[in-house]
Symmetry: C2
Subunit: 427 residues, 2 copies
């Protein structure tokens, strides 16, 4: 045993685990491609200031940050959005809008370890820059939903809960929340599901200074679980009505795409992060057993602040850890058993050279091929072929080499056939 | 413009650059697959001690190392081999040999910046563990050569220069080098091509304390450019003869694979790293304009030291930076222009919903599809389709929607055809 171990919270990906990760990342890439998104990447190490600018100085305690040998304050990236803002800011002028980009960075956070929580994960980041219309929100939501559908998950397995910060704002103002208490109220109602009505009203009147009446009105907002119910209750307020119309349009577009079953209106989705400005959403497993699978929304002000370019923007992040748990729960992880197309056997040392020639020819034709590094009996080589999951075994004895053929056994059926080497090598 | 920039020596991968990186990494993966190698990965952050154990304390000045918030001394990985040794050491007992693994880590080195030298790069690492026979060396060399052939490079573009540390050792001993001066002599002859005969002899007699005669004999070794010439000159020494026979066997295997033109015997390939124990090689562009494209060899003692498991091992590293320069020089970089399979056009707002349905149906069938987020005239939408490199444009007007068809234009030929939507959606 080595005296060294991986750092706590960091994963080793042995081939079986890597195969699952490759399946997840590969599926994300495939769906992104269908949606016309282009992949980008940035450095895993960035100036510390980039993250402080976006999230405030409190973020530093969660970062892998240090002073590099050139005296620069740097941090391993805890999220991708600041890098995206920086990169888009540097070139946005020259790129046609909307910009549809995605990335699959590994992200790092120094969290106090609990419940096997990791300190790194891979996260799909998919963003649309330069489009303020609601069609972009529908596109983003559809992409998030299809990312999961592509793994074989259905509406029975997950749901996207969708709200809009502008709608929530209009409703809170309508209920009598003072404008300067909005942020505080967002933070309080974000915990809505975990706290009772009494406790919420106490916090709204206490911490946010709302009147008893306004606090009650705020809590009542969240009793409405359908868009129609909200319209019936508050639709007379023109600001609320305008926001409801936008949300309804988004849902109609998802309906047109055949995805309406996957999205549910839910005003309790606030998303703590201060920078969201419009439609926000989170994807959850329907059994409610796991943390959010995905979260995102519109953040129209961030690029100006961090990237120096004033572009509306929206996007989501989807990590590999919760998704993997969900796929495992539902029996949707891929087969990771080894397999190769061919195993080539030289019967004796004399056929060794011909065997190497066949091995290389098959590989050049695109097949995956294995063979034994040591001269062994045919039986032992056959065993090795089975262990490697070979689909076919090509045996070369003296007769076969003389005749320019190989004796090819299809392992699944046991069928054997003499095949001209020339035919085997045809691409 | 953003006030933030990437750190010096770190690259942003905008979509065009990312596409080239994806081409390089994708080609590596494809060749590794054909050779039956399995992909693995480890953490980009490891205990500092892991690298000190392998390379000595001098390595620290080149590392991105720091103390994490838990008081651990850590470093961003400067190379993959220690992680491989650690991971293999932890599980080697349970894995059938030979182990054929590869990885494509991003690696980090704090080097004083010069000539645009980068501080990060991606490096293919391909290793075989648990096989001491020369067939594994031939397999490794063949894989290195095929990694480049797969990009369209030929024997006119690159060559693998191959030596053997055991052969060199036997020759140096034969020439009269004292055993305890071997390491020093390796280091001196490693610079052979850059220094003249006089200077070399001066260093061999001065620094390594060789006699004039031995120093002359050492320098003479490197005048032999062919295996046969070395055999003729030194083959009477039984140790040299045994090493020559092994090398000849390796070359014969590469000949059988049809790759003999890509490898050249070259005793000047020493590879500075102290841990190589057998066949060593480097791949260079034939014009000699670039740094080495790839380097590797056999390191039979390292796993025991770092990984705690005594397995013979061999492997190579191939970075993305020099390779990319070579591909650019030879006009072998891939096309990175955008393209999508379909662009869907709604003639008016009334067809919007049908268009979204078609968009999603086509995506579900596996096509990449774009459309406009805003309602615009058909002409403008056609222009957008061209800009996105759409292969086909599907137009939906009122008539088409009523008839359940789309008017499909193939952009390359200009041909237009009314196609039932059902037919378009067939996978």
């Amino acid at each position: 045993m080595s005296k060294f171990k991986a750092l706590p919270g960091f994963r080793d990906f042995y081939p079986d685990d890597f195969a699952v990760r490759a399946h997840i990342v590969g599926t994300w890439r495939e769906v992104a491609r269908r949606y016309g998104f282009q992949e980008y990447d940035g450095p895993p190490l960035e100036p510390l200031e980039l993250y402080v600018e976006k999230s405030g100085p409190e973020i530093v305690q969660q970062l892998y940050n240090f002073t590099d040998k050139g005296g620069r304050e740097v941090a391993m990236r805890p999220e991708m959005t600041p890098t995206l803002a920086r990169m888009a800011g540097a070139r946005a002028g020259g790129i046609p809008k909307p910009i549809k980009w995605f990335s699959v960075p590994q992200l790092f956070r120094y969290e106090r370890q609990q419940r096997g929580r990791l300190r790194e994960h891979f996260q799909l980041n998919l963003d649309i820059l330069g489009e303020e219309g609601v069609a972009a929100d529908a596109e983003l939501l559809a992409a998030a939903v299809d990312m999961l559908r592509a793994f074989g998950l259905t509406a029975a397995d997950f749901v996207a809960r969708v709200s809009d910060r502008r709608l929530l704002r209009a409703l809170l103002l309508h209920a009598g929340t003072p404008e300067d208490q909005l942020t505080l109220v967002y933070n309080i109602v974000d915990k809505l599901e975990r706290e009772g009505r009494e406790r919420l009203i106490a916090r709204l009147t206490g911490e946010a200074g709302l009147t008893e009446e306004a606090a009650g009105a705020v809590v009542d907002i969240f009793r409405h679980r359908e868009l129609d119910a909200v319209r019936e209750a508050y639709g007379a307020d023109p600001e609320v009505a305008a926001e409801l119309a936008r949300m309804a349009e988004c849902f109609a577009m998802l309906e047109a795409m055949g995805l309406r079953d996957y999205v549910r209106f839910d005003l309790t989705i606030v998303r703590g992060l201060a920078y969201y400005t419009g439609i926000v959403f989170e994807l959850f497993d329907t059994r409610g057993e796991l943390r959010a699978i995905c979260g995102g929304g519109r953040y129209d002000d961030l690029l100006k602040r961090v990237g120096g370019t004033d572009l509306p923007a929206l996007g989501f992040g989807m990590g590999d850890v919760v998704l993997r748990e969900l796929l495992a729960d539902r029996g949707l992880l891929p087969e990771t058993a080894r397999r190769v197309d061919f195993y080539v056997i030289a019967v004796t040392e004399a056929e060794r050279s011909a065997a190497l020639s066949l091995v290389h020819g098959l590989r050049d034709a695109g097949h995956s091929v294995e063979y034994g590094f040591r001269v062994q009996g045919v039986g032992k080589q056959m065993k090795a072929a089975s262990a490697l999951g070979a689909a076919r075994v090509a045996v070369l004895g003296a007769d076969e080499v003389a005749a320019g053929v190989a004796n090819v056994k299809t392992m699944e059926t046991g069928e054997e056939r003499r095949v001209p080497v020339e035919e085997l090598l045809r691409p």
